[in-house]
């Protein structure tokens, strides 16, 4: 499906066949880990990265079926919130899928056709009302199918939902289907946040090519206001809602005391913001005691050289991107400073020294310490096979969940790093994470929605920095070469 101009959620430059009610749009080849799989439907048999247990019904935390309904005008970050939330819930193992009404609208109208001008009006003409209902109906049928027949637990219904009356009816209808409803409103009264949002996600469309950014933003907002003249913010005492004001500056939670999951969602939303920033992943340099978990060795000379080349490559790349951003009319205020996170292990800290000395802020995160290999530390495959033949066998079957004696599994690592996931969402600066490969795998797995079978085999060679570029609808990954470096981190002329 190619992008058409839709004035409501058209951040959707992606290839996703929304009208496929069976949910079989497995677009990403399973092994293509460079593409964010957040819109793929995971296989039922697969456990999620941080899932603690599974149940026959497929539902977790003793919650029933839940519909999360977004509320908010365009450019308030609704789609961002719904995609981020599905990412997090899926990571926890909750079967979640987002249904973007805009997709259905586009699919129904066909390429290049816009909805009638009064489509969002309260006093719309009968034909527009009928059109609205047809599109809604299709979306809801898919939603019910997901919850009732595909072991779905949380359906995120991403739409404007501007009127109180409409919301009450929706909650009533869901209740009839034995579905609990939580509304999440993105309410913004700070014009700066709206403008930034419009600029970053709405006007990148071909429609605004060649426009001056400021004019494009103005034009978009004016058209939006004309299109949806009527919007009521949530104040319905009887409904369950979470209102995020100005991207989480203030959050109002009404009537949400009905389960572990709603509170967990609030917890996540408290850490989420709608500003976009880059994340970079890099390996620590080679240490004098490389591959020893217990020794915690310092960087060797080769490692110190790598740290410098790494820092320079990153800064050079950032400068280029910044120049391009400004050349495209971006405002310098929107550029984010860079923060560096390392684990508390010596060689990750030392790898950040070059950047720290260049004036960047470095923070140590104890939870990011590498996967504990346990008794197989420093053992070769042949040694492991000889000493622990059964463990080796089990490890081959399920490398994500298996733990060697005294060691951690990737699953253990993911569960222990959950606070880091929330901190990652909370961070507002661009972020470079320097860590052990096992830690990078888990974090990358979260940001790119990788399956548990992919995570243990992800590769982070030292001659590349992996950059994750967030977009409203999905994340993109990009590899930045570190010059004069081989995959092991050794200098090559």
């Amino acid at each position: 499906m190619t992008l058409t101009v839709d004035w409501f959620d058209f951040a959707s430059d992606y290839d996703y066949s929304a009208s496929d009610g069976t949910g079989n749009s497995l677009l990403r080849r399973k092994s293509n880990i460079d593409i964010d799989a957040i819109h793929n439907i995971p296989l039922d048999s697969e456990m999620a990265p941080a899932q603690l247990y599974s149940t026959e019904s497929g539902r977790l935390f003793h919650s029933g079926k839940i519909a999360i309904v977004t509320v908010g005008l365009p450019a308030r970050g609704k789609t961002h919130v719904s995609v981020a939330l599905s990412r997090y819930l899926r990571w926890l193992g909750v079967k979640t899928r987002a249904f973007h009404l805009g997709d259905y609208r586009r699919a129904h109208m066909g390429p290049g056709t816009d909805v009638p001008h009064d489509y969002f009006f309260i006093d719309a003409t009968p034909s527009s009302v009928k059109l609205r209902q047809t599109i809604l109906q299709k979306c809801r049928l898919d939603l019910y199918h997901f919850l009732d027949h595909e072991m779905g637990q949380v359906a995120i219904y991403d739409a404007v939902n501007p009127t109180s009356m409409g919301r009450k009816q929706l909650a009533k209808e869901f209740m009839k289907h034995d579905i609990q409803t939580i509304f999440i409103e993105s309410y913004v009264d700070n014009p700066k946040i709206i403008e930034e949002n419009v600029r970053s996600v709405k006007i990148s469309s071909p429609d605004y090519q060649g426009w001056d950014q400021k004019d494009a933003v103005k034009d978009y907002i004016a058209r939006m206001n004309a299109k949806i003249p009527h919007f009521e913010t949530m104040e319905e005492k009887e409904l369950n809602y979470i209102k995020m004001i100005n991207a989480g500056e203030r959050i109002i939670v009404n009537n949400c005391r009905f389960g572990y999951l709603p509170n967990r969602i609030v917890f996540y939303l408290m850490n989420l913001h709608i500003k976009s920033r880059q994340t970079y992943f890099a390996r620590a340099g080679i240490s004098s005691q490389d591959d020893s978990y217990k020794a915690d060795g310092d960087l060797c000379e080769e490692g110190v050289g790598y740290a410098k080349r790494l820092g320079e490559a990153l800064l050079e790349n950032r400068n280029k991107e910044r120049e391009a951003f400004i050349a495209n009319g971006g405002s310098p205020e929107e550029l984010k400073p860079l923060t560096v996170w390392t684990s508390t292990r010596r060689r990750t800290v030392a790898t950040a020294t070059y950047l720290q000395e260049s004036g960047f802020k470095v923070k140590q995160r104890p939870q990011m310490s590498q996967l504990n290999p346990g008794d197989v530390e420093r053992m070769t495959e042949r040694q492991i096979r000889a000493k622990y033949p059964d463990e080796w066998e089990r490890h081959q079957v399920d490398p994500y969940h298996h733990r060697f004696p005294r060691g951690e599994s990737y699953h253990d690592l993911a569960v222990r790093m959950e606070p880091i996931i929330l901190e990652l969402e909370r961070e507002k600066n661009d972020l470079l994470i320097i860590a052990h490969e096992s830690v990078l795998r888990v974090l990358y797995g979260y940001l790119m929605a990788c399956s548990t079978s992919d995570i243990p085999t992800l590769r982070f060679p030292r001659n590349e920095i992996v950059e994750i570029i967030p977009e409203s609808y999905n994340n993109r990954s990009k590899r930045i070469p570190v010059p004069h470096t081989n995959p092991k981190g050794v200098y090559v002329p």
Binding site: Y53, H62, R250, V266, F267, R406, D412, R416, R426
Partner: protein, 473 residues
């Protein structure tokens, strides 16, 4: 060797937070404060509550309502001095005792007072989080007054009727000057009518969100929690650990007796029953008719390679492990299995759900109950893995504003003791002399015990390491 790489579950290295409670009396502030402390300490975060009332009580043990009248200059001065002392102590604790989260438990009902506290904390570089409990539901307030009036140290030995009247008078004095938190630049969470609405403002770090998340799960409705181990299992009889064995005949007898054992204390209360997914807990609960839920997270600590072995076998097969486990039982992780610390992490959602829920009965396993019990009773980590939680006994915990009340009900059904004291041999038959009395903690006080902490002098009995310790009636 103890594998301890899970320390610092929470990101605390640069977060020093002063949690400032706000709210009129009888809004559950002390309860919330105390629970935050307990929760954070259970998760290995150094937390402490500073109750201004207890500082004030040092000078004015039994104040009347007039004392709290803002137009009473003497009362005002003394209360100000108490607040001053509490804040000073808290700041000292941050600085010298490695405190991470200090809680200032007082009404803090005026903007001026809050501004003053904030200034003092910010000057030292500590974050301030206001937690306001706001309630205009009269029934809720009254039930809370009844709760507080019976347990508050201010009213010890007084006529309950008079105490209640005095308390309402005291609240009225506070109401005159009360200003709700709405400072736009402050970080706060406002809990309105026990969480029916929550307003969260300007949260600035992760630990704050964690604390807020926790408080959102709290409620002040009175309730109790009944805890029981599964009945004696075939493995218990054989002295084996772990496994998924069925109940022994005596275990089945306990299952038969359980409905009668809890009948009186549960009465017609609405109770939800939780078990693990293991046979022995499901069998134990089979005659109970409450709504049942099975939790994977309540399964017994995974003993890894030692699963299905006896302590004797572990001692001979893995002598170093056996010793290492005794050295640091909380952090020791069985080869291929779990440590107590791991269990605490996986129990965190259970604790959250227990806080959120009302009357709950939990039938689960020894290590799991130790962790849950340690949470409610504030037992430190070096002691909790060593606590004796006997078979065929129901422990009833009732959280109160000033501590958790405990009652125990023993079924008159003998069972083996699965308890092994620190540094004792695996052979539990003979060697009575090896019990280290300081390390063994058996906070089994039949009857009421209103205290969050168990003192050594309250220990009812030191368990004797007999292989078959029958429990007396």
């Amino acid at each position: 060797m103890a594998t301890n790489f899970l320390e610092n579950d929470l990101q605390v290295e640069d977060s020093h937070i002063c949690v400032v409670m706000v709210g009129l009396p009888a809004r559950g502030k002390s309860l919330i404060a105390q629970k935050i402390v307990r929760y954070l300490k259970w998760l290995s975060v150094n937390a402490k509550s500073f109750n201004v009332g207890s500082y004030r009580r040092a000078d004015t043990p039994r104040p009347t309502a007039e004392f709290f009248d803002t137009s009473n200059p003497e009362g005002e001065r003394l209360r100000r001095a108490a607040a001053e002392a509490a804040v000073t102590d808290m700041l000292r604790w941050f600085e010298h005792e490695n405190g991470h989260v200090g809680i200032l438990d007082a009404t803090n009902s005026t903007k001026a007072r809050r501004e003053w506290i904030k200034e003092r904390c910010v000057a030292k570089g500590y974050d301030v989080l206001f937690v306001e409990s706001k309630c205009d539901d009269e029934d809720l307030i009254m039930s809370n007054i009844l709760e507080v009036k019976t347990t508050s140290p201010d009213y010890v030995g007084q006529d309950p009727e008079l105490a209640a009247r005095d308390f309402r008078e005291r609240i009225r004095n506070y109401e005159k000057v009360y200003e709700t938190v709405d400072e736009p630049d402050s970080t706060y969470v406002k809990l309105i009518n026990v969480g029916s609405q929550v307003i969260i403002n300007q949260v600035s770090n992760y630990l704050q969100t964690r604390i807020i998340y926790f408080t959102m799960n709290l409620h002040i409705t009175p309730r109790s929690i009944w805890l029981s181990r599964h009945g004696e299992s075939e493995f218990n009889v054989q002295g084996k650990i772990g496994g998924d064995a069925s109940l022994s005949p005596r275990g089945l007898a306990y299952a038969d007796a359980l409905p009668e054992l809890v009948k009186h204390s549960i009465g017609d209360k609405n109770v939800t029953l939780w078990t693990s997914t293991m046979k022995r807990t499901i069998q134990t609960a089979r005659h109970l008719t409450y709504l049942k839920k099975q939790w994977k997270a309540l399964d017994e600590l995974d003993a890894g390679v030692c699963d299905g072995l006896t302590y004797e076998e572990i001692e001979s097969k893995y002598p170093e492990d056996f010793r290492a486990r005794d050295d640091d039982k909380y952090n020791y992780r069985y080869q291929g299995g779990e440590s107590y610390r791991d269990v605490v992490i996986r129990l965190e959602p259970i604790i959250m759900e227990m806080e959120r829920g009302e009357n709950i009965m939990v039938v689960t396993h020894q290590a799991i109950l130790r962790c849950i019990y340690a949470y409610f009773m504030n037992i430190p980590q070096d002691q909790s893995p060593w606590m004796e939680i006997p078979l065929h006994t129901v422990i009833k915990l009732t959280p109160r504003a000033y501590g958790t009340q405990e009652e125990r009900f023993k079924a008159n059904i003998p069972a083996v003791s699965t308890f092994r004291a620190k540094y004792t041999s695996a052979n539990m038959g003979g060697e009575e002399g090896l019990v280290d009395e300081d390390k063994v903690l058996s906070p089994a006080a039949t009857g009421a015990q209103v205290n969050g902490v168990v003192h050594p002098d309250e220990v009812e009995s030191i368990v004797t390491p007999h292989h078959t310790a029958t429990t007396p009636a």
